[in-house]
């Protein structure tokens, strides 16, 4: 089952870690980094049902996450 509870003791730090990983990368490189991260973390989870649920949730929220403006 997909866990959507907060699992980090310091969620702000976890968020910053991901943001910082992209610092200095071009947009193209950022997209490539994200793709690699998704594959790595999906493999770490190793459960197709969980992966499926995560994809469902992410897609459901996709329209909300479209960047508005610049």
């Amino acid at each position: 089952m997909l866990s959507t509870q907060s699992n980090f003791t310091d969620p702000d730090a976890a968020y910053r870690l991901i943001v910082e990983a992209h610092r200095g990368l071009s947009d193209e490189q950022s997209a490539a980094l994200d793709a690699a991260l998704v594959l790595l973390l999906a493999n770490h989870i190793g459960d197709a049902d969980v992966l499926h649920a995560a994809i469902e949730l992410a897609k459901r929220r996709l329209s909300d996450s479209q960047t508005k403006g610049t």
């Binding site: 959507t4 907060s6 969620p11 702000d12 949730l57 909300d64 960047t67």
Partner: protein, 514 residues
């Protein structure tokens, strides 16, 4: 003539430090280059920790009577409420989580208190124009309307704000991060029925693609903060005719007057060292943060409280001058904490790159149905006192399930005197004297303490009772256990079975004698 302490800057930090030092028996000269307290609302959110300090200084009552007490914050994304937080979800504390109060009210109450204390010599229109460091003192050249004069002091404390003149005079740099986004801050006067909560919006319908903040102050004044982005023209944006339609869109009406308008860029930076021979830096002069989190004035007040007892002990000869190093260590760590928290908030509110914005938008979108993402939504993490990793703390030798650890600030609790009168622990702490205090869960006879340690004994047959059991709960207290509190209310050490030698050793360590 040599003065023990000269404080430069009569803002909230300098005024509070002067009062704290005077209450500890020190004579203080307090200089300010203006002819009176400053204009503009500026800092408005004062934390529980600041109020506890001000309570000890005798001014919190007026601040709270005038101020707007609040503890709930709400975060909106678009038109929807994402979540809300409560900064003080439990009872049994004398001071509220926060009050909002215009800085000029805070300063004027502090000045009134200063004028009651004959040991403080407050001198307006006194501007420091030169500094010379001598072996055992500092020499200041002061410019006044009547000409220049020289002032010699054992210690000079620079509380002269973000544009500190003294910082330049010691040749220190002030480096850090500048954020490109500009923010419009407007204080407007209007009658409105919004609750006394901190409201923060990402991408609100009235200010698309940017952030907004609404917060109540006394006298029907409301703080409004609108993100303008990096490309805004500050000179145009601060014109009232351009601000008015923005605010009217937010409020849905045009029935308000402006109290104060300002357009800002934020910086997060600090001095590498707060101690420069005989000159000590505190508040915005030493470190600067973005306003998201109310960490500017509050951290400056924590600096003042941290410094006052140490300087007083040194000047009395009760501690070596080296005790000051702990000021730099403790408040340096706190400055780093505050800069980290405020940088994270500012970056979340104003992402640096397209990718960072995409991640931020994904967090906001997921937060509507996933708890983990809600916890990452960052519209400002509000000021809480740091826990000091400090050379003054004695490491726990016993097991504790909870309670403030060494380096953390004491927690308040409701108590009763032997005759049944209610008294808060923070009040009893202040009344116990101005030095170290042993906070003891009474178990038969009192523990022997050194002469210079005051005693607070809590228990069924002790001078203070804990009828609600909240002291025992918050301090993981069992009969016989004890906390040694520093003069600023931080925990120096704690013991399950306090022995006089252990208390003496912890005292020596906390006074910089170990």
């Amino acid at each position: 003539m040599r003065h023990p302490v000269v404080i430069v800057g009569a803002g909230p930090v300098g005024l509070s430090l002067a009062i704290d030092l005077a209450q500890r028996g020190q004579r203080v000269v307090l200089l300010d280059d203006a002819d009176r307290i400053g204009d503009g609302s500026r800092a408005i959110c004062f934390s529980k920790r600041s109020l506890e300090l001000w309570d000890r200084l005798g001014v919190a009552g007026r601040m709270i009577d005038k101020g707007v007490v609040w503890k709930v914050g709400k975060i909106f994304s678009g038109p929807e409420l994402l979540y809300q937080f409560d900064l003080l979800p439990e009872d049994g504390h004398k001071m509220p989580a926060f009050i909002n109060l215009q800085q000029y009210y805070a300063e004027s109450y502090l000045v009134d208190r200063v004028l009651q204390l004959p040991d403080i010599d407050l001198r307006w229109r006194n501007k420091v124009v030169a500094l010379a460091q001598r072996n055992d003192h500092a020499e200041l050249t002061i410019d006044t309307p009547d000409g220049n004069y020289t002032l010699r002091a054992d210690y000079v404390v620079a509380c002269d704000g973000a544009r500190s003149g003294l910082r330049g005079m010691v040749g220190a740099d002030f480096s850090g991060e500048t954020f490109e986004d500009q923010f419009l801050i407007a204080d407007v006067k209007m009658t409105a029925a919004f609750p006394t909560e901190r409201w923060f919006w990402f991408d609100p319908p009235f200010h698309g693609g940017q952030s907004a903040l609404l917060h109540k102050q006394p006298d029907d004044v409301w703080r409004i903060d609108l993100q303008l982005g990096p490309d805004a023209d500050a000179a145009l944006e601060r014109l009232p005719e351009n601000v008015r339609p923005r605010i009217a869109r937010m409020l849905g009406h045009d029935d308000f007057e402006f109290e104060w308008i300002s357009v800002y860029k934020f910086q997060c930076r600090r001095m590498q060292r707060f101690l420069h021979e005989r000159v000590i830096f505190a508040g915005d002069a030493a470190h600067q943060v973005s306003p998201f989190g109310a960490r500017g004035a509050n951290s400056g007040l924590e600096d003042a409280e941290n410094l006052a007892w140490k300087l007083a002990m040194i000047l009395r000869g009760d501690a070596p001058a080296g005790l000051l190093a702990s000021y730099e260590i403790e408040r340096g760590l706190a400055a780093d904490d505050n800069i980290r928290a405020s940088t994270r908030s500012t970056n979340f509110i104003a992402p640096h790159s397209r990718q960072e914005r995409r991640l931020r938008q994904a967090v906001l979108a997921l937060a509507k149905e996933a708890d983990f993402a809600k916890r990452m939504v960052n519209g400002g993490r509000l000021s809480v006192p740091s826990v000091y990793a400090s050379p003054l703390s004695t490491v726990d030798a016993d097991a504790w399930r909870t309670g403030p650890e060494p380096g953390a600030h004491m927690l308040d609790a409701p108590l009763q005197t032997a005759s049944g009168e209610p008294v808060y622990l923070t009040e009893a702490f202040s009344a116990a004297g101005r030095g170290f205090v042993l906070l003891e869960s009474a178990n038969g006879a009192a523990v022997n303490v050194p002469d210079n340690v005051a005693h607070l004994r809590i228990g069924a047959d002790a001078p203070l009772r804990d009828d609600a059991g909240l002291f025992a709960k918050r301090y993981d207290a069992a009969p016989g256990s004890a906390y040694l509190l520093r003069p600023d209310g931080y925990v120096a050490a704690r013991f399950r079975h306090p022995a006089p030698q252990a208390i003496e050793a912890a005292m020596a360590r906390a006074s910089g004698r170990a």
